[in-house]
Amino acid sequence: MLQIARWKVTLILLVVVAAVIVAVPNVFSGQTVASWPAWLPRNQVVLGLDLQGGAYLLYEVDRTDYVHKRLRTLVSDVRTAMLESPRIGYTGLGIQGQGVQLRIRDLDRVDDARQRLDDLRNPLDAGILASGSIYEFDLSVDDNGLARLSYSEAGLTERVSGIVAQSIEVINRRINELGTTEPSIQRQGEDRILVEAPGLGDPERLKALVGQTAQLTFHMVVSQISASEAERTAPEPGTLRLVDADDPELIHVVEDVPLMTGEDLVDAQAGFDGQTNEPVVDFRLTTGGARKFAEVTANNVGRLFAIVLDEEVISAPVIREPIPGGSGQISGSFTVESANDLAILLRAGSLPAKLTIVEERSVGPGLGADSIEAGRIAAMIGTVAIIAFMLAVYGFFGVIANVAVIVNVIMIVAVLTLFGFTLTLPGIAGIVLTVGMAVDSNVLIYERIREEFRQGRTAIAAIDTGFTRALGTIVDANVTTLIAAVVLFFLGSGPIRGFAVTYMIGILTTLFTAFTFTRMVIALWVAERRPKTVPV
């Protein structure tokens, strides 16, 4: 046990030196390290959101909202299909649960209707692994002429998955437009999107930009009624009732088929109105959109049209004259910032469905800096306390234990740096805890040596057997702790994972230092001094 080959000594020292080299950039500030020449190690530990400040936002696709809106367009698609000549008569067209239902009047035409409805089932591209194609809707038609298009489970899942992918693209574009942070945007599970933005002072603006659906539509206004009137009367078919963004008492009754959507826009910029000097958003339409807009405005001079953003009417101007150029202006009660944000949203495109925040954790930069400071102070005080304690109890062997603990911490930092693990505040707690528990391996070894010596062995024999016996116990004891740490790592999330990472690494480095470093130092000491008594 106490004979240790020269090559092993060299190897152990090499590992320790390598750890020091990898860990050393963490002592300096980010700017200092960035100015170092490229051949020096320059990687630093990645700090978690809780230490550098930032926002963790978990969004979920709002299925109910999506299904409702999708079925609304399906209703008008069904209507168009039935009205195609030759017309098929129907009654009771409307949304029922997760589907759209209607009754065909003329039972002779049911097969004809079935054919037309079948075209609306919308095959989805389910990827190469799927056998046959998945349809978004299932169609059922019974003998009494009752027809129903309803969402299939597979169809909805497939749609939601597509929505998540599409949303991630849109969010990426929006945040790039903002241009200040480098957030990570990832799919989580089936219907969730995780946005993590480090170092962000104010997550509110990010939330406003990411979470807004920003579905822009233009509709012709049929009439304007008060909220109380809207409560008393039933909506007419083919219209939508939308509330005014500024005045909750004002309800705009608009045609449900939009004249134009955000898709028809090529550009949007924030600007100022020439006369009132209020912030506005100027937009330009695609060639096709411009032609349509020119036609509609020419045919409807004197009528109102509503500019609708996410089901709210932001303004409803009168068409004073035909607008042929394909550009226009949205005015509303904007501030400079909100006009700017709307322009960004319109340029980046709308989200295919509403997203809701289901989990949010944001940390301001002040708390992040305080947490780093708190972790630093706690780690220093904890380490000093341990060093003093070990010196008081074990004297010279305590020095060895303390050097081992310091090597241990350096190795934890080196592993974190090397593999790019994120350091969180609970992670710092994990390191501090390792400091407390790493000396345990030394305590086990020393107490055992002491016991063996007191039972009458010579000093060297006591050290030798003490080591051998204690190492077995150290492995058994640490494996149980390691199991707990590994489970934490795989099942925990966010901060807990940060704790599990350092704790796990800490256990491994503890085993490493006990088996190599501590052993080596003591072996070298024994070879040098040939002690007659044990200093514990």
Binding site: E60, D62, P203, T356, I357, V358, E359, E360, R361, S362, V363, G364, G366, L367, D370, A374, G375, A378, A379, I381, G382, T383, A385, I386, F389, M390, V393, Y394, G395, L425, P426, I428, A429, V432, L433, G436, M437, V439, D440, V443, L444, E447, R454, T473, A477, T480, T481, L482, A484, A485, V487, L488, L491, G492, S493, P495, I496, F499, A500, Y503
Partner: protein, 318 residues
């Protein structure tokens, strides 16, 4: 240099005899803990209950906590708790807990509630931390936390069962179970927030407590082989006494660093660390006063001769 000895050499404390006092006490307290946990219940944090937690720092130095309460009270947000916390590093700040808002879309309702809080405070406070967990996510977190706890305990037991005889595995279950139950009780009595990090604390305690227990068991196994004629009671007492110095010193170093974390580590991890300190203390107690004495009920040796061969089998490892 005169060295410090916390535990004198050759202690001969009769832990086995002491069990007639501390076993009933431990059983009573464990049962009490379970009853407390399921009747009074811990103060569930937002991770498991849903809702929001805000840590704010008022901009004005001489702010009025009552005014903050009054401002929030006018917003009709249901149950709102306002507490002041102070910290040697970060100074004083105010913690605001807002219950999960009800409604057709609770997630959106919660965001709307937070927007109203921001409007009400305006620029008078700095937001240090905002955490919101919706009802679906909190349900999932609670489920995952429970699974994590069960998986860990089962995994560790399988390991102990492989490495030792079944009696030791049962002893380890009893000692560790005792620690988990007592910690649950501690969460109720100390009114600590019961969060995801509490599950992490319990898992770490499980790991620590078993670590301690395994060290004692290692020694028992070794002594069973070494002293084949020694009566079991005496052997167990001897094993615990021999490892007593190590057990207490390791607990002490661990508690030392945890104390540093508790005082200086910041509000964010304080309840996690508090639970850990309690857990380390109770884990140390259980590996001395419960894990070893409980083995006496499991017939480690059936008869003197038969028991010897069984003990030799049980200690196949050097």
């Amino acid at each position: 240099m005169r060295k410090l000895r916390l535990i004198p050499d050759d202690t001969k404390i009769r832990f086995m005899w002491l069990r007639r006092f501390n076993f009933p006490a431990s059983i009573l307290l464990s049962v009490l803990s379970v009853v407390l946990f399921f009747t009074v219940g811990p103060q569930y944090g937002i991770d498991f209950r849903g809702g929001s937690l805000l840590e704010v720092k008022p901009v004005a130095a001489n702010y009025d906590l009552g005014a903050i309460r009054a401002t929030l009270g006018q917003l009709n947000l249901g149950d709102v708790q306002v507490t002041e916390v102070s910290d040697p590093v970060a100074g004083t700040s105010v913690l605001i807990r807002i219950q999960q808002q009800a409604g057709e879309d609770p997630d959106a309702a919660q965001q709307a509630a937070l927007a109203r809080v921001r409007d009400a405070f305006g620029d008078t406070v700095e937001y240090r931390r905002v955490e919101t967990v919706g009802p679906r996510v909190s349900g999932e977190l609670a489920y995952n936390g429970t699974i994590a706890l069960l998986v860990t305990i089962v995994a560790i037991l399988i390991y102990v069962w492989f490495r030792f005889e079944w009696q030791f595995a049962v002893g380890a279950i009893i000692a560790t179970g005792h620690d988990v139950l007592m910690t649950l009780g501690f969460f109720v009595v100390a009114r600590l927030d019961f969060n995801l990090s509490s599950i992490a604390a319990i898992l770490t305690i499980v790991g620590y407590s078993l670590n301690d227990t395994v060290v004692v068991y290692d020694r028992i196994r070794e002594n069973l082989r070494k002293y084949k004629k020694m009566p079991l009671i005496e052997l167990l007492d001897r094993s615990v006494n021999e490892t007593l110095s190590r057990t207490t010193q390791t607990s002490l170093t661990t508690v030392l660093v945890l104390l540093a974390l508790f005082i200086f580590g910041g509000e964010v991890i304080r309840s996690f660390v508090a639970a850990m300190i309690f857990g380390v203390a109770i884990g140390t107690y259980s590996s001395i006063y419960i894990a070893a004495p409980v083995l006496v009920y499991f017939r480690l040796r059936t008869g003197q001769t038969a028991g010897d061969s069984e003990a030799a089998e049980a200690t196949g490892r050097a």
